[in-house]
């Protein structure tokens, strides 16, 4: 992990003649980055591997049902090892892979939308959130329902889930549902525990 952080900062430059800093060849940078990523992955603790598994399972909810979490993780690891992405110095390897998995999911739906030929005049070039295609909407509704089901019977958790889905801050959620800070914190802790348990051991879907 430390190697990734240190190396990422150095990967853009190399010492040239007379101490001048010269750009490295891109392939060289990619190899260096890939090596750092490989070493960081190999050094992951069991705890972090389980964390990664839980994150992959969670993020796979944003993909069609026939794509498993291990497929998503495989692809993220492969892209990280390609060396084409730099791991920012302040980002750990688990967060780095989580970001790649997030990108893969977004990329999938963008591609799906493009291939389905869904374009509207209102869609600007590079628009961050263009209107989704029906398949995307259906998948999202199903995923939201499944996540909601996970917390069935826990009213505070369902309220927090709804608030998070609505983009509310912790304070806004507490105010909206009349939750005390203690209630909010203890509920988030329960949610985290349940998410971890489902993420590392049981099938979500």
């Amino acid at each position: 992990m430390g190697a990734v952080r240190a190396g990422s900062a150095l990967a853009h430059t190399g010492e040239g003649q007379e101490g001048r800093v010269q750009p490295k060849r891109r392939t060289e940078e990619a190899e260096e980055t890939a090596g750092e990523v490989a070493r960081a992955l190999a050094a992951l603790s069991e705890t972090d591997l389980l964390r990664l598994k839980a994150i992959a399972r969670l993020r796979a909810r944003d993909l069609p049902r026939d794509v498993g979490w291990s497929d998503l993780l495989n692809e993220a690891v492969a892209r990280a090892l390609d060396g084409t992405r730099q791991c920012p110095p302040e980002v750990g390897i688990v967060a780095f892979l989580a970001g790649i998995m997030r990108s893969i999911a977004s990329e999938h739906w963008r591609r799906q939308r493009r291939e389905a030929g869904i374009f509207r005049l209102s869609d600007g070039e590079g628009e961050a959130d263009p209107a989704p295609d029906p398949e995307r909407t259906l998948a999202a509704v199903q995923a939201l329902a499944t996540l909601d089901q996970l917390f069935t019977g826990d009213l505070a958790a369902s309220q927090i889930l709804a608030g998070l889905a609505g983009g509310l801050s912790a304070r806004e959620i507490r105010e909206m549902y009349g939750l005390s800070e203690t209630d909010y914190d203890s509920t988030r802790k329960r949610m985290r525990r349940l998410l971890l348990k489902h993420g590392i051991a049981w099938r979500f879907r």
């Binding site: 090596g35 705890t47 291990s70």
Partner: protein, 88 residues
């Protein structure tokens, strides 16, 4: 849990829950493992993590002078050919 744009609601929710998992302490994870009644190695062996990392062929940089990662066994790319460098 209704939302005007389910896709955006899901994205926000997943981002928040992912942050929760990233911020979970080792003790949280160990407690979750204990609740499953399994040990960490068994949970990791279950269908994936080890395979994923082995498939990624970690260590190729040290072993190879040519430094070409192997990408021919990626499950996701197999399922979704559009992720390969081929035209649909």
């Amino acid at each position: 849990m209704t939302a005007h744009r389910p896709d955006l609601a899901l994205r926000r929710l997943l981002d928040a829950l992912e942050a929760e998992l990233l911020g979970a302490s080792d003790a949280d994870i160990q407690a979750a493992v204990a609740e499953t009644g399994m040990n960490a190695q068994a949970l990791l062996a279950e269908a994936g993590i080890v395979t994923a990392l082995n498939t990624a062929d970690i260590g190729w940089v040290e072993r190879s002078e040519t430094h070409h990662p192997r990408r021919d066994r990626m499950g996701f790319a197999t399922l979704y050919p559009s992720y390969k460098n081929v035209k649909p």
